[in-house]
Symmetry: C2
Subunit: 230 residues, 2 copies
């Protein structure tokens, strides 16, 4: 039921508009409930009720609570993954120090805004909280989102390094320093602070830019105190 669907169409969602509608409604409601209450805390009756769908329909389409859970997360991961590749998009284009600095600032903002958004923070909470129950899910998320961002960042950093705009020897390490200077503290706080007002966006961006300043002081245009790189 979940896996194969015969006639021709690829996706079962395309077969019957009724299924598509139900499915979408259930996914929306389920996301909300799982994100708020965790896997065990969410209950299928409530999800069905909120989706304005009978419980039976939930079971017909998804097969069970756990499959539903995995399905929700699969969609969330896809979104996160798509985003991961976009954050860094123009970083590597810079070809002088000022541009690099500007790009780093832009990247910082690109990074901080979505990662500290309520949605993503709640997703993180969910996966971290379920890391012991669903280790593969947590690991999978980590690899497809934060880790992927870090890889993309690293590649960009390496390029900036090659152009002498940054002193980079371990690109991966450099990216981690960048990322955590920019959003480490507010992210950690956000994970523990539920019932959020999403922390004042402006304040957070200010902090992020200060992080970039520090980053530039450490990694910025090759300094001549100990002599040039090569």
């Amino acid at each position: 039921m979940a896996t194969g669907r015969q006639p021709a169409p690829t996706d079962d969602a395309a077969l019957d508009p009724r299924i598509a509608r139900s499915r979408a409604a259930i996914v929306a409601a389920a996301s909300e409930h799982f994100l708020t209450n965790g896997y065990l805390g969410a209950n299928v009756d409530d999800i069905a009720a909120e989706a304005r769908v009978s419980k039976r329909t939930v079971y017909n389409i998804f097969g069970g609570k756990e499959q539903l859970f995995r399905e929700i997360l699969a969609e969330a991961f896809a979104v996160a993954e798509r985003f991961s590749t976009e954050v860094v998009s123009t970083l590597a284009d810079a070809d002088n120090a000022d541009e690099a600095a500007a790009e780093l600032r832009a990247t910082a903002v690109n990074l901080v805004r979505p990662v500290l958004s309520g949605r993503v923070v709640r997703l993180r909470r969910l996966l971290i909280g379920e890391a012991e129950r669903f280790p593969e899910l947590a690991r999978d998320y980590y690899e497809r989102a934060p880790d992927r961002v870090m890889d993309a960042l690293a590649e960009a950093m390496a390029q900036l390094g090659r152009r002498g705009l940054l002193s980079v020897d371990e690109p991966r390490l450099v990216s981690e320093h960048f990322a955590f200077l920019v959003l480490g503290a507010p992210l950690d706080r956000a994970l523990f602070t539920a019932s959020d007002q999403e922390p004042l966006t402006d304040e957070v961006e200010r902090r992020a830019l200060q992080g970039v300043d520090v980053f530039l002081r450490a990694y910025g245009p090759v300094r001549n105190s100990t002599g040039p790189a090569s």
Copy 2:
């Protein structure tokens, strides 16, 4: 046990050794179960069984699952809090640049080892996962552990700043940069990666020290580009 201990019957744990023993056994078992399975996932029968105690005894001593949960956490918080004040102990003693660097390195190691320990990571997972169900607990922990460390760090940084060993204008920000340069990335990874081998201590310490290097490059002994502090 946590608060006071006298011949006078203040604390019920002191009254009868039987209670003390039972209580300790239950606390140990419960910690394990809550840390592993979360609040909803843990079950009282299993806890009682593992503590070699009847379920009735659990209810007699603690009153209920939720009180037990809070009690466990209260003890864990106390431990974390005690630790928080120790990490930074000697940082502010440095009175020349080399000593400061050495102290920062020592502090980094002091910080990284416990925070990335399985115990603390699991505690973080638990609290983050339950942040929506028990917001006060998560907030309380954050304030009594990470936040307190940060305050202590900030104070030390401020002193180093006053001595001209570090260029510090916002001590709190500086400490956050320090802490997250040192352990941001591995901590984030650890939260998502259950079923741990605790990540190779050596590797993590190496990373931490690299973090300190970067920190020093950014904040290190007052650079003379804009002139000394005062």
